[in-house]
Amino acid sequence: MNTSDSEEDSYNERSALVQCESPTIPSYHQDHDMSLPQETDTKRGRPVSSGLDEPGLVERERAATPDGEEEELTLKYGAKHVIMLFIPVTLCMVVVVATIKSVSFYTEKTSQQLIYTPFKEDPNSVGQRLLYSLLNTIVMISVIVVMTIILVVLYKYRCYKFIHGWLILSSLMLLFWFSFMYLGEVFKTYNVAMDYPTLAMIIWNFGVVGMICIHWKGPLRLQQAYLIVISALMALIFIKYLPEWSAWVILAAISIYDLIAVLCPKGPLRMLVETAQERNEPIFPALIYSSAMVWMVGMADSNNPDSADERQRNEGGALAQEGVESEDDVALGGRRRCSAEEDLEEDRGVKLGLGDFIFYSVLVGKAAANGGDWNTTLACFVAILIGLCLTLLLLAIFKKALPALPISITFGLVFYFSTDNLVRPFMDSLAAHQYYI
């Protein structure tokens, strides 16, 4: 029996690396990944890239600071942005690894598989396993491509209500059903007795607050926490239900797809970005992790509630057609006011799509799930962080949209396989003799 489609609803994460736009800059590069609206199947997150709004940053600072300090400030801001992304990515990975190591449910292999990976891998025959994992990957990637194209088409024809509806449906699924499953497994692992009324109340509160925070307004930290939690839940589902070899091949294929989709002129993601730029709209604020923060501080009081509302609503991603345009204007107006008054505070924050979180966590989680070797997990973790750092560095250099997945996933995969096969026996022998290098 295959798991139901509804589980896949939550794939509508996007991976993107975007920076909050500065209103003083008329044109900016922003990439985002998309969530694929689902008709019958699941959505899939798309890894995308982001554009760092360097010209904007430098421009805004030019008035205040002497020329030479700009680059230094850019470097400082660049470093701060990197750390603002390191922390949530690390937290998500920590949650996934902690769950994998303690709750055995997510590492038990069942015969159930997602319908996107229809071929069952036979562990006995290497050739057949390889072939079936390739076929599974092809199926999954084509589903993703189709969904992305559908999303682009929907966006082009302004069917915002439809997209919004799917986003809400998928976050409902994640926040209620998946967290219920997760909680159930945790209780089973620790042998905690729980009654249904209490559980219902917990899940209800968790879910409703999550929906409000993500799709409407809420404290920034709470929203970030919820986004991290749903990314972790999604990653855990992937880890459980994707077959072994298929998961690795899918990871590699997704990075390649990301590269193509963002950099090729006809790539769906690129078209989406350009469409959004033409319309001067923020791109799908829903399901993007935002770390935008401090520019709220120091604003005049009268502006505070408006800007807070606008920003939160933008993040929440109200995609109703009227909603987008009007809120966009107000948002732009609000931000313009705020940034004019803000001469001391710097940050515009960074946005990273949830698809990136999910795939990074899938990689690290699978490293943790196989064999219990912590060195491998640690190596993958460091590799992914360095990949993220390099991606941001490349963004600062090239100042154009770059995909966020390829470098990190490549490093992660290389380090996973080499640490698992080369470093592990070496370190084990060293530890056995207590030799230190």
Partner: protein, 290 residues
């Protein structure tokens, strides 16, 4: 076994480096990035040396135990050499980054000085090295088992933790000294660091004769620490200033002289501001601005 051993060994092995991280690195994003990049470089060196060892193992007779052990020892020394090569490579990379920054900015300083980068890079190497040595052992110590059931030493965990701590600190000190040597083109310093590292690895080969490995390694750690302190600009004067700074609670005013921590290579006190600390009673200081 169990939690007591786990926490004890974890704190011994990682306590100081964790404290160093929290107090000196966590607040500055650039330092965090340099730390993680340092860890990455160490990881690369380990990867390459494992590859070489693995090829050697596969090419040799797996039944011959002395040969295997010999190959492992070769692997140890090769890995040490490769780590130092990567430390040098990381130095070059950081120098390029600093040069780039300094060339762009008007004033002399970049966001971070080479000495600070040396310390952070060394700490990155140390943390990664310690983590790779210790984490699997820690995770095993949580589960059931009997230490040394086949006749090995019973002190496995504690000695592993102590050795890890020594190595972490050593990497930090070596980082400071190494970068300083590269900056001033004193190649004997580099040779000394490499030979010290080889010596420490060689001493660990004496395990489980812990008397032969742990005390000398700690002596070397202390000596290298002192060397790093003086090499990064510390002096006896700054040490005495640190020692006469009494009372952790008397941080009343910000106008007091900045006392350098021995590992933070920025020891110059603020010019034009001196304050004299007069101990009036044990634990109580009064301060007099001059």
């Amino acid at each position: 076994m169990t939690l007591a051993v786990f926490f004890g060994c974890a704190f011994i092995a990682f306590g100081p480096s964790f404290a160093l991280f929290v107090f000196t690195i966590a607040k500055d994003p650039l330092r965090v990035i340099i730390l993680i990049a340092g860890a990455f470089f160490w990881l690369l060196s380990l990867l390459l040396s494992s590859l070489v060892w693995f090829i050697a193992i596969k090419a040799s007779n797996s039944q011959d135990l002395t040969l295997q052990r010999g190959l492992l020892i070769f692997g140890v020394f090769f890995s040490v050499l490769l780590q130092e090569v990567f430390r040098f490579a990381y130095y070059r990379l950081l120098r390029k980054a600093t040069e780039g920054l300094a060339a762009i900015s008007d004033d002399d300083g970049s966001a971070i000085s080479v000495r600070q980068m040396a310390y952070v890079a060394g700490l990155g190497f140390g943390i990664m090295s310690g983590a790779f040595s210790m984490i699997n052992i820690l995770s095993d110590s949580l589960g059931p088992g009997t230490v040394g059931i086949f006749g090995d030493s019973q002190y496995y965990f504690i000695t592993a933790a102590l050795m890890t701590l020594a190595l972490t600190l050593l990497h930090t000190f070596w980082g400071v000294v190494f970068f300083e040597g590269c900056e001033k083109s004193r190649w004997w310093v580099i040779a000394a660091v490499v030979s010290l590292h080889l010596l420490v690895a060689g001493l660990s080969l004496l395990n489980p004769l812990y008397e032969g490995s742990l005390p000398p390694v700690y002596v070397i750690t202390l000596a290298t620490g002192v060397w790093a302190f003086f090499s990064s600009g510390g002096s006896l004067h700054s040490l005495s200033a640190l020692c006469t700074l009494c009372g952790f609670e008397s941080r009343a005013s910000r106008t007091m002289t900045e006392v350098p921590l021995s590992k933070t290579p920025n020891p110059q006190p603020l010019p034009g501001r001196r304050s004299m600390w007069l101990p009036t009673a044990p634990g109580v200081c009064s301060r007099q601005e001059s």
